[in-house]
Amino acid sequence: MMTALLQASRPRVGGLSLILVLLLLLVDHGQSRPINPYQAPAPVALGSGVAPTAAHCTAP
C-alpha cells in the first residue's frame, strides 16, 4: 500500500502533502494556547517599534 501511494501521480502526492499539513495544524490546534486576536502583532514589523520575538534557525 505504501509503495502504491508513493508511486501515485503528482496531484495525489501533492494533495497528500497538504493533508499532512492540515493534520499537523489540527494536532497543533488541540494542544496550543488559543490565539488572542487582541494581542496580534502589528501587520508589519518595520515601523512597529517592537523588537522581533519570533524564532529563527540561526538562533541557538
Binding site: P11, S17, L18, D28, L46, C57
Partner: protein
C-alpha cells in the same frame, strides 16, 4: 486559487494580518520556486556535472539584491529587524558539509524539499518527514554540538561598516560568480529569462519577509517546531530539554503554529508549489519507482538533512541565503562547507539510489 484565498482568509481571521501576510509571502516563494524552477540543490549539481552555472548565478543575484535591501534596513532599524546572524563553529561547519551531501542524495534542500513535496514529488514527501524528525532531534543536541567550539559572532557590517559590509558581500558574490562562470561551458553561463525573473521575485519576497516578520527568511526552525509539536501531542514533556525548556522556544511550543513565522512561510511554500503543479496542463511525471531499501535511504537522508541543518544553524535558506544577504560570516562558511559536501553527495546519490534509477541519474530527480 480558491484554496489559497481560503487559507489566507482563515489565517487572517484566526491569527491576524501579519500571519496572513507571511502566508502570502510563503505562497509567493512556492509559486516562484516551482513556477520558475528556481532552486538550490539542482544548480549546485549542474555546475559540477554539466558545467552549467546559470542556476547558481541566479542564486547569487537573488542574494545580492536582497543584501542591497536588507543590510541598509538592518542598519536603520536595528531594534525592529534581525538579520540571520550566527557564529561560525566547528560543528556548524561539519554539519553544513553533511547537509550538502544529504541534499544531493534527496535532490532537495530546505526550501526545495518543501516545494518538491507540494508539487507532488514522492521522494521529497518522504524526505520531508525525515527532515521534520531530524530537525527536532537536532534541537535536543544543539547545545552539546555548540559546546565543541564557536567563534565570536562576526558580520561584515561589524567588520567594515554598513556600506563596507554591503560592498564586501557583493564583491564576495562577484568572486563566486566569476568562479562559476570559469567552470561553465559556453551556452550555460548567462541565466535564462525565467531565472532573472525568479531571482528578482525571490529577492523581493525575502525582503518582504524581513520587513513583515522582522527577521530573515528561514525554514528549519519551523520544521523542528513541527516535530516538537507532534512529540508533545504524543505525550512527551519537552520542558526538561535545554532547547525547548528555554523561555523563547517554550513560548513558541505553547503558541499556535499560525503565530510562528517560519511555519507560516513553510506552509505557504508547500501550498504555492501545489498550486503551480495543479495549474500545469500536464504535471511532471512522478519520480521513478524505488526499492524499499532506497525509500529507507531517502527517509534517512531526510533525517540527516534536518539534523544537520539544525546543528549548522540553518539550511540553504536560513544560513546561506539569509546569512549571506544580511552580512553574517557564518553564511559564507556554511556555503563553502555545504558545497564541498555537495560534491560528495553527487557521488553518493547514484550509489545509494542506484537500483531503479535511470542511467542518466535523473529519473528520481525533479528536485530543486
Amino acid at each position: 486559487m480558491l484554496l489559497a484565498l481560503a487559507a489566507v482568509f482563515l489565517t487572517f481571521a484566526t491569527a491576524g494580518p501579519r500571519a496572513a501576510l507571511l502566508l502570502l509571502v510563503g505562497l509567493g516563494f512556492g509559486l516562484t520556486l516551482e513556477g520558475l524552477r528556481f532552486g538550490f540543490a539542482g544548480p549546485w549539481r549542474t555546475l559540477v556535472t554539466e558545467r552549467d552555472a546559470r542556476g547558481l548565478l541566479a542564486q547569487f543575484l537573488a542574494i545580492g539584491l536582497t543584501a542591497c535591501v536588507a543590510m541598509p534596513l538592518l542598519a536603520s532599524f536595528p531594534t525592529e529587524l534581525n538579520g540571520a546572524h550566527a557564529p561560525i563553529g566547528l560543528a556548524m561547519i561539519v554539519a553544513a558539509f553533511v547537509f550538502g551531501a544529504a541534499m544531493q542524495v534527496v535532490m532537495g534542500c530546505g526550501s526545495g524539499t518543501l516545494v518538491n513535496a507540494g508539487s507532488g514529488n514522492a521522494i521529497a514527501l518522504v524526505a520531508l518527514l525525515g527532515f521534520v524528525a531530524g530537525s527536532f532531534l537536532g534541537t535536543l543536541h544543539l547545545g552539546w554540538w555548540s559546546s565543541l567550539g564557536v567563534l565570536p559572532l562576526l558580520t561584515l557590517q561589524g567588520l567594515f561598516g554598513t556600506a563596507g559590509g554591503l560592498v564586501a558581500t557583493l564583491l564576495g558574490l562577484g568572486v563566486l560568480a566569476a568562479l562559476a562562470l570559469g567552470r561553465a561551458v559556453p551556452g550555460k553561463r548567462l541565466p535564462q529569462g525565467r531565472l532573472w525573473l525568479a531571482a528578482l521575485l525571490v529577492a523581493l519576497l525575502a525582503s518582504l519577509n524581513l520587513v513583515i516578520a522582522g527577521q530573515s527568511w528561514g525554514v528549519v526552525y519551523g520544521l523542528g517546531l513541527w516535530g516538537a509539536k507532534l512529540v508533545s501531542a504524543a505525550g512527551a514533556d519537552l520542558s526538561g530539554t535545554a532547547f525547548w525548556g528555554s523561555a523563547a522556544h517554550a513560548e513558541r511550543l505553547s503558541q499556535s503554529l499560525l503565530t510562528d513565522v517560519t511555519s507560516l512561510t513553510n506552509i505557504g511554500l508547500i501550498l504555492g508549489a501545489f498550486l503551480v503543479m495543479r495549474w500545469r496542463e500536464k504535471p511532471d511525471p512522478q519520480v521513478a519507482p524505488l526499492s524499499a531499501r532506497s525509500w529507507l535511504v531517502v527517509l534517512l537522508a531526510g533525517l540527516v538533512l534536518g539534523y544537520s541543518a539544525r546543528v549548522a544553524l540553518g539550511c540553504n535558506v536560513g544560513a546561506f541565503f539569509s546569512g549571506v544577504s544580511t552580512g553574517s560570516l557564518h553564511g559564507w562558511a556554511w556555503f563553502v562547507a555545504a558545497f564541498a559536501g555537495s560534491l560528495l553527495g553527487i557521488r553518493l546519490r547514484p550509489r545509494l539510489l542506484l537500483p531503479l534509477l535511470s542511467p542518466s541519474g535523473s529519473a528520481a530527480g525533479g528536485g530543486r
